[in-house]
């Protein structure tokens, strides 16, 4: 126990993160369960409106700041970056451990706010509601989120330095795995966007204590200034969540198609393009907030520009599978689910970037469905895909492939049933964040709640069979999937300093046509 809490081994810290985030995800999921049960009927009968507002706020805060943003970088990124780079550890191992402690401290503060009476501002903390009107525990919660942000900054700095300075001999930039490229882009956003949120939230806390008037129009401040600051972080934060997922999928699809990635340079460059353009689109959250027509037009245009590199990703994934040897293993099912849901989620994002359409759809269930499709559909599918892909490497064991596939399909179907109805609800004009709603929306709301039960089963299943594999699973061997990449050249799980002999890279990445065939044979496979 003590050796775990003082470890500087990136692999152990990654597992600490995995454990912590699983707890947060479970908590956020339970909150979502209560929300969906409440919304099955039109009236607010299970919980009061006041409680409902606290439920969706905490669901949002916990899921966004304590699961979605850190999920892939701090777990898979932390575990895999040094392995993929052929390095013994991250550049600053002690800073890495400190990040985890800061993250846990932030989580505890937020949980304290929750236990002490909750928070009812929505995860967006919009002023002046959060500064003046809310009588919930805003200060505790924003300090918790501030600490989580600080932890993100540390992680981002660590990744950037590691990728720049700790690559194995011969591992040039254009030989980096696409997973590393996407984490590099993510780290840039983490380091350059998070401080803006951090300061903004501190100002909210100061404003609540001292009422200086930073966001108060009567004192010379502006509530819109808050929105600009908030979205300057929180829109790029969307790319913090999705870029690592894209990185995971870019590893999975070549492996299970036995092909080189289609347009490696395009995929790598599109990660950077998304990161850069992601900084320039925050205003599309404010089309109806009263910013100038000119500003709205510019932000709309830039938002469409981000869609081009995203389109490149989808096209390249399809191209990679084309003329390949496509093998529908559990990770691959998740990867394909990601591609489908990311396309739907990204496409509906185009609808929201379109000015006239956004006037109707802004702040309705359409928005809720859109970002859940990207975040839950996309990001979580990629997270689970990555978890299943590298689970044999991390644990040294094989899980039940049959149950894996059942869970993946269950999740995909449950997801569609939960969120497709919400697109319709939003188009019909139901605003989001409402504890009760007019009865004409009840059919679709109930359908969505029913879908959520299937979704919940899809989340619980992997927890069961992955844990079971630790006890009963067959040994995985070093490279069960026949994958390329340095992480597969060491034992499963890897030794404390990753490689017994320093790796030297002499060939391009993803040389699947010449890679060894998988040692893993699933049900009905060849």
């Amino acid at each position: 126990m003590r050796s775990w809490l003082t470890t500087t081994d990136h692999k152990r810290i990654a597992l600490l993160y995995l454990g912590t985030m699983t707890l947060f995800f479970t908590l956020g999921g339970l909150l979502a369960t209560v929300i969906r049960v409440e919304l099955a009927t039109a009236a607010s009968d299970l919980v009061t409106a006041e409680t409902y507002n606290r439920l969706f706020t905490l669901h949002g805060v916990i899921m966004v700041f304590f699961f979605l943003i850190p999920s892939i970088p701090t777990f898979l990124g932390n575990y895999l970056l040094p392995l993929m780079l052929g390095a013994p550890d991250l550049a600053f191992p002690r800073l890495n451990l400190a990040s985890w402690y800061v993250f846990v401290a932030g989580g505890l503060l937020t949980l304290t706010a929750m236990v002490a009476g909750g928070l009812d501002t929505g995860w967006t903390f919009y002023t002046p509601y959060s500064t003046t009107f809310s009588d919930s525990h805003v200060v505790l919660a924003v300090l918790g989120v501030f600490l989580a942000g600080l932890s993100s900054v540390f992680t981002g700095i660590n990744f950037i330095v590691t990728i720049h300075r700790l690559r194995a001999p011969g591992l040039t930039w254009l030989r980096l795995p696409l997973f590393v490229w996407s984490h590099y882009a993510t780290s840039l956003i983490l380091v350059l966007a998070t401080p803006v949120l951090a300061m903004t939230l501190l100002l909210v806390a100061i404003e609540r204590g001292l009422s200086i008037g930073i966001f108060d129009p009567e004192a010379g401040g502006s509530p819109l200034l808050f929105q600009h600051f908030f979205w300057f972080y929180s829109h790029p934060a969307v790319y913090i969540m999705i870029l690592p997922g894209m990185g995971v999928v870019s590893e999975l699809i070549p492996c299970f198609s036995r092909n080189r990635p289609f347009g490696y340079e395009f995929v790598a460059a599109s990660s950077l393009a998304i990161a850069v353009f992601g900084f320039l689109v925050w205003g599309h959250h404010m089309f109806v907030a009263g910013q100038s027509y000119f500003a709205s037009v510019v932000f709309s245009f830039l938002s469409f520009s981000v869609a081009v590199p995203s389109g490149v990703k989808v096209f390249s994934w399809l191209g990679t599978m084309h003329r390949g040897s496509v093998w529908l293993t559990t990770p691959m099912i998740y990867a394909l689910g990601f591609v489908a849901l990311f396309t739907i989620g990204g496409g509906t994002g185009l609808a929201l970037a379109m000015l006239a359409v956004d006037v109707h759809l802004h702040d309705t269930y359409f928005v809720v469905a859109h970002f859940h499709t990207i975040m839950v559909g996309g990001m979580l599918m990629a997270y689970l895909g990555g978890l299943h892909f590298w689970w044999p490497k991390i644990s040294g064991r094989l899980y039940s492939e049959r149950w894996g596939r059942i869970a993946a399909y269950t999740l995909f179907i449950g997801f569609l049933l939960t969120f497709l109805p919400q697109f319709v609800l939003g188009t019909q004009g139901l605003p989001r964040r409402t504890a009760s709603y007019p009865p004409e929306y009840q059919f679709l709301q109930a359908l969505s709640s029913a879908g959520a039960t299937i979704l919940a089963v899809g989340y619980v299943l992997p927890g069961i069979y992955l844990l079971a594999s630790l006890v009963r699973g067959r040994p995985a061997g070093d490279n069960p999937w026949g994958a390329t990449g340095l992480e597969w050249r060491t034992s499963s799980p890897p030794p404390p300093h990753n490689f017994n002999k320093a790796p030297v890279v002499t060939e391009d990445p993803y040389d699947y046509p010449r890679a060894p065939q998988p040692t893993f044979i699933g049900a009905g496979d060849v």
């Binding site: 002046p128 496509v326 188009t427 019909q428």
Partner: protein, 323 residues
């Protein structure tokens, strides 16, 4: 109708701009549908056609020239489609945003307050949680919030506009068909946000006139109430015509550009008038001295500001003493 259940993707369109929004919605939904189904179909085809089987255990890849050609082609294709969507969205948005300068437009003051909507008609009639308007006439909404940010959302009109404390915003609609339409608050505003709803009752013009006449006549019209307040606060001491050297004239001011002392210029809209009452030295008009007018912050509340704005608006077409 789907499976016998009444089903409509969009609420029945009922305003002059909702048709345009619907065209944009269907356009972008069609693009989303084609792309999503296309991607799924392509995946299914590839998964079946190139499935792993004896004889196909290794991918066959693509040559770099093909990759570069198709990737660049794909970028060009998507960029073109996106540019088209952007243009349509921006063009229709312009129609929604631009408040028409109709002579017979109806000006309604809207005050949002947790958690109700109140409306103030030009003849002084007030109503809560119900807004009666005539069909076929432009209704200009002057939106003010007394506390937090709310959002004025009428799905049937495809109209949404945030109501931000500290600002006066203007939005508009022209209802096309009589009926009752739901108005909801779309920006989360606290405990009872979900029930911060109201009905917009669109009536035939003659029915609306009758309704208006039935109202409680004891209340003065909006502009008259504003004029009374204007006099009570003694604004005329400087702003009425014979004292023009101290303060700029208000006749013909509303909606027109104003040259400021620092060389810039602003449109005299609701928000400018509000700001000038609360912070007179923020935008001093060209040829006038700053530091003359005291601030009225704390002396007039949001409702009263709407009255003053209504009065100044009523002077929009009055003849000023032109210099």
């Amino acid at each position: 109708m789907i499976l016998g259940i009444p089903f409509e993707l969009l609420p029945a369109a009922a305003s002059a701009t909702s048709g345009a929004v619907d065209v944009a919605v269907f356009l972008v939904f069609a693009v989303i549908g084609v792309v999503s189904l296309g991607v799924v179909a392509a995946m299914v085809y590839i998964v079946v056609r190139y499935r792993r089987r004896p004889g196909n255990l290794t991918g066959r890849g693509h040559d770099p020239a093909t990759i570069w050609r198709t990737e660049l082609g794909w970028c060009a294709l998507t960029a073109t489609v996106f540019l088209g969507l952007f243009t349509v969205g921006a063009a229709f948005f312009d129609r929604i945003e631009r408040v028409p300068a109709d002579a017979d437009a109806l000006d309604v003051a809207v005050t949002a307050k947790r958690w109700m909507w109140s409306f103030h008609h030009p003849n002084g009639r007030r109503e809560l949680s119900q807004l009666h308007v005539p069909a076929g006439r432009v209704v200009r909404l002057h939106l003010a919030s007394e506390d937090v940010i709310h959002s004025f959302y009428v799905p049937a009109f495809r109209l949404k506009h945030d109501v931000v404390p500290g600002w006066l915003r203007t939005a508009w609609f022209r209802a096309t068909a009589p009926g009752t339409y739901a108005l909801a608050c779309a920006e989360y505003c606290g405990t009872e946000h979900a029930v911060m709803r109201a009905d917009v009752v669109v009536m035939e013009p003659h029915a609306y006139d009758r309704w208006l006449a039935q109202g409680d006549d004891s209340r003065p019209p909006l502009a008259a109430a504003g004029r009374a307040l204007f006099q009570r606060l003694d604004c005329g001491a400087c702003h009425e015509s014979h004292r023009r050297r101290r303060a700029p004239p208000l006749e013909g001011l509303y909606g027109r550009p104003v040259a400021l002392r620092d060389g810039s210029s602003v449109i005299a809209d609701d928000d400018y008038i509000r700001r000038s009452i609360l912070r007179p030295d923020a935008d001093v008009v060209a040829d006038y001295q700053g530091g003359v007018m005291p601030t009225y912050a704390g002396l007039v509340d949001d409702d009263e500001l709407l009255l003053l704005v209504a009065y100044i608006r009523s002077l929009a077409d009055a003849e000023g003493v032109s210099p």
